[in-house]
């Protein structure tokens, strides 16, 4: 089939060439300033629950309510190396509740009972008040409400509990729903290697 090359074809090809060149230029520009993989992470220094100075306010639970997946992709993590391992942990116990027979607050703080407490090290049964305790947060139960985070920070605690994102739940939304709601802009996109430290 022999086809004549008409002026129409020429215009067509010229237009196609222009569009392709423009797209190529745009892509080149974006690739030049491209960075590697980025993921969402909670900036503990900005998060209302963990940043210093925010005391006497309710814990912000937007991470729980705003996340698009059913059980929030944000959960509390206890960085054990920074944990004071206190006998009366203000993040484990509701320290405003009545004291029970053991001399400990009778209520727990976590609404989902996600924190477990056990004595560690050389335990002295005579003197339970002087033992160390390990506080472990159950990943599957925690929904990131931030109550324990709020209690653990200075001056009550050492700030070892912070909110972090679990990437097995995070669906990496283009615009994280929590980030649009966060009053402190604490949800930020960081390079993947930074997010894991």
């Amino acid at each position: 089939m022999s086809e004549q090359f008409t002026r129409r074809d020429l215009l067509h090809q010229a237009a196609r060439g222009t569009v392709l060149a423009t797209m190529g230029g745009g892509a080149g520009f974006l690739v030049r300033k491209a960075h590697g993989q980025v993921v969402w992470q909670v900036d503990a220094a900005r998060c209302l629950n963990s940043r210093l100075g925010e005391v006497g306010v309710e814990a912000c639970n937007l991470c729980t309510t705003k996340c698009v997946v059913a059980l929030s992709a944000v959960r509390a993590v206890n960085e054990h190396s920074r944990c004071g391992r206190c006998n009366i942990c203000p993040a484990y116990f509701n320290i405003t509740s009545a004291v029970d027979a053991r001399g400990l607050p009778s209520e727990k703080l976590c609404p989902r009972d996600a924190i477990t407490r056990k004595p560690i090290g050389k335990a002295d049964p005579e003197d339970p008040a002087n033992n160390f305790y390990e506080y472990l947060i159950d990943e599957e139960k925690c929904d990131g409400c931030g109550k324990c985070v709020m209690q653990c920070k200075e001056p009550l605690g050492l700030g070892s509990i912070i909110l972090r994102i679990r990437y097995n739940r995070c669906v990496d939304c283009n615009r994280c729903a929590i980030s649009t709601a966060c009053p402190k802009d604490a949800l930020i996109q960081v390079p993947v290697e930074k997010a894991l430290t």
Binding site: Q37, A98, P155
Partner: protein
């Protein structure tokens, strides 16, 4: 570190101060603590002024007893090579889509491809990252010097457009998960009156303009409306805001009769693809040399993409229904040829 100054003791008002933690005073402290406890136990709920017992975290050595610090779970994000795989799958699916439609002219395989794409890009990848939403990322990255996007997003945005410049909207046909879910629910297609179709078709450019307007606001006020109001992503993730699931359900319900309402009237990326497709080198053709003028293909096209017995490439969504309905082409014709050969 020999422990006295690091030992934990619950500070209580009236209870022993720090010195109470020293080993030789421990018995005395316990007795006093029990006293306080008993006194408090009889009182109603009341607050304990909390006093932090330690100033620095005790480490494995000072805890003793062979204690090992438990490892904090850190679920990893998706591997980056898997994202490259997404782009490769996207490119391959588009190539297959255009081959099936332009060469094989076979509707059944297009449906199979659509099911596959829906499973992969929709339910496995949960709708992200998609070229439709990437419009916003690309627009912001182009204008905001402090915002940049990974290369896979750039590729996801440009690949279908480049494809459209050569072969038309191959992406819409069997690749786009949003298109595929609507393609599969379209059971009783009705023809939308041409004028209404044209008028509604302009909506997608209004939506594109709005999306760019919100995406290009300063970083604090920025909003990605295309993603926020994606009608089907809730289904892909099997969770979502109730109102969006409702809107998505409404789209699917309407989509049973009106072919692909989101693609034709709202999809901003569809608008870009339509522009690129005007330059396409090849596109769907209606039986170039075996024409019957029967018009069965016009009735078969649910998207109003056949006018005056010619395919309108910019509206063609690569569904291959016209071939399936054609007595001279596609499956029907091939089956007939097979019969002739056998007899």
């Amino acid at each position: 570190m020999s422990g006295a100054d690091l030992q934990v003791c619950a500070g209580r008002p009236g209870g022993p101060p720090r010195a109470g933690c020293l080993p030789h005073m421990a018995g005395w402290a316990t007795r006093l603590a029990i006293l306080v406890m008993v006194a408090w136990g009889t009182m109603p709920a009341q607050s304990i002024p909390y006093q932090r017992p330690v100033d620095e975290a005790p480490q494995e050595k000072s805890i003793g007893g062979g204690y090992k610090t438990p490892v904090v779970q850190k679920p990893l994000p998706r591997n980056s090579w898997l994202q490259v795989l997404d782009v490769a799958v996207l490119a391959a699916a588009m190539a297959i889509s255009s081959w099936l439609v332009l060469k094989r002219r076979n509707r059944k395989s297009v449906v199979a491809l659509a099911i596959g794409s829906l499973a992969y890009f929709g339910f496995y990848r949960e709708g992200c990252v998609c070229p439709i939403g990437s419009i916003q990322n690309v627009a912001v990255a182009m204008t905001d010097p402090r915002y940049s996007i990974p290369m896979v997003v750039t590729a996801t945005f440009f690949l279908p457009l480049v494809m459209a410049v050569f072969f038309g909207r191959a992406f819409c046909g069997g690749v786009c998960a949003l298109g595929a879910i609507q393609e599969l629910v379209l059971l009783k297609p009705v023809q939308v009156p041409r004028r209404l179709d044209l008028a509604l078709g302009l909506l997608k450019y209004v939506y594109l303009g709005l999306a760019l307007f919100f995406a290009l606001k300063p970083a604090a006020a920025r909003d990605f409306v295309i993603c926020r109001f994606d009608p089907f992503v809730g289904f892909f993730r099997r969770t979502g805001a109730p109102h969006m699931l409702l809107i998505g359900g409404a789209f699917l319900l309407v989509g049973m009769f009106v072919g692909r309402p989101y693609c034709r009237y709202l999809c901003p990326y569809g608008g870009l693809l339509a522009w690129c497709t005007r330059l396409a080198r090849r596109g769907v053709t209606i039986t170039p040399d075996k024409e019957l003028d029967c018009g069965l293909c016009i009735e078969a096209c649910p998207y109003g993409a056949i006018e005056k017995m010619r395919a309108v490439r910019r509206n063609c969504l690569y569904c291959a229904r016209c071939y399936a309905a054609c007595p001279r082409d596609g499956e029907l014709a091939r089956a007939k040829a097979q019969l002739v050969k056998l007899s």
